[in-house]
Symmetry: C2
């Protein structure tokens, strides 16, 4: 994770560097507020309060809600995507290995960044979500396209059943990873399933996919 240097010159009204990680605190606080209340509903004041800093300090680091959102995307979201991309790139061509790498990558990312599933539901999956256009228009769709290309190649070589659609398989993978992680508070309560942890979920998902994906047999 990159940390940007701020000016070390002490000027009146300006804090001294970021020795206490206040900028990072603000990024974390923004993500917590975004996941809890949505991006639109997260005010500068609520984010500053969550971070335990003054609104003045917020303004020093980001200046506006929009710049903060840009920084969150650039410094928190894109690195997660980029890390997943590297993991999947290294998985080779076997569709089961690619799917396994994706499932493990999502679980690892969510373990490190617990805000990810809620943010995804609220700002990408929900109609009018603030990050949906960003995903569709601005981000290079590396990870989804890379996955569909791998699966399409596997379908051509017979490593993937012709009954499965390479593009829809990527949709299935998201529905079997981000969705259950986002819905965990619901199904844990509905099924009295406090005993089911993320590892059990991952094991179940990998078993389902390992059986479901495969050669022509």
């Amino acid at each position: 994770m990159s940390r940007r240097k701020v000016s070390h010159k002490r000027r009146p009204g300006r804090p001294r560097g970021d020795a206490s990680g206040q900028r990072e605190l603000l990024l974390d606080a923004a993500l917590a507020c975004y996941a809890r209340h949505g991006i639109t509903a997260s005010s500068v004041r609520s984010i500053a309060t969550e971070a335990g800093v003054t609104p003045a300090l917020f303004n020093y680091y980001f200046g506006s809600k929009e710049s903060l959102l840009e920084a969150v995307v650039e410094e928190r979201l894109l690195p997660v995507i980029s890390q997943m991309r590297q993991a999947i790139e290294s998985a080779g061509t076997d569709p089961r290995a690619v799917a396994t790498e994706f499932v493990q990558g999502v679980h690892a990312a969510v373990a490190r960044h617990p805000w990810l599933p809620s943010l995804w539901v609220r700002e990408i999956l929900s109609e009018g979500g603030a990050l949906r256009d960003l995903l569709l228009d601005q981000l290079p769709p590396h990870v989804p396209r890379m996955l569909t290309e791998r699966f399409a190649a596997a379908a051509r070589s017979g490593e993937l059943s012709g009954e499965l659609d390479p593009r829809l398989l990527v949709v299935s993978l998201v529905g079997l990873t981000l969705f259950p992680l986002a819905a965990a508070p619901i199904w844990r309560q509905l099924f009295d399933a406090d005993d089911v942890d993320a590892d059990a979920l991952m094991y179940h998902t990998l078993a389902l996919l390992d059986r479901g994906i495969g050669g022509l047999a």
Copy 2:
């Protein structure tokens, strides 16, 4: 903003029965507004406008936003759930048949009620969604519990692989049906997949599940 006049021949302030289906129109309009803007953000005025009736007529039929929501749940949501329940009850004990019935049931329900996936994302899956507590606290969890019991029985008899968790399999089914239907505008654009219709999605999903679910082999 279109405002339609109602007949004035009756007592002041009271429309003549529901000959023109205005109450039904208001329920439909509520669902459209809920799915588009969320339940909290859907005002009486916007729902009345969507239905093409006056706010006074809205008040005659429902009196408040809360009563309208209750009527929508009672008359529009619960019948969908009840219909799915009947279909699954008739599916017997084979876990693949149960899963197939569930997948076909969700697809049929969404074909009839296109507002279903958006409403589900916004009001159940999103943290703080207005229908989440209703699902967890008030609705009898017939469908999810019935599904887990079927799958648990199948696991005991060896019809379902022991690698799969009967409760998580229900979560997987939702992630492979409601999620891809809710996310269709996203993946269609991301993958240039306008050629993939709901039937193709259902076929893919049934193939994945039919392979993924099965005996101990």
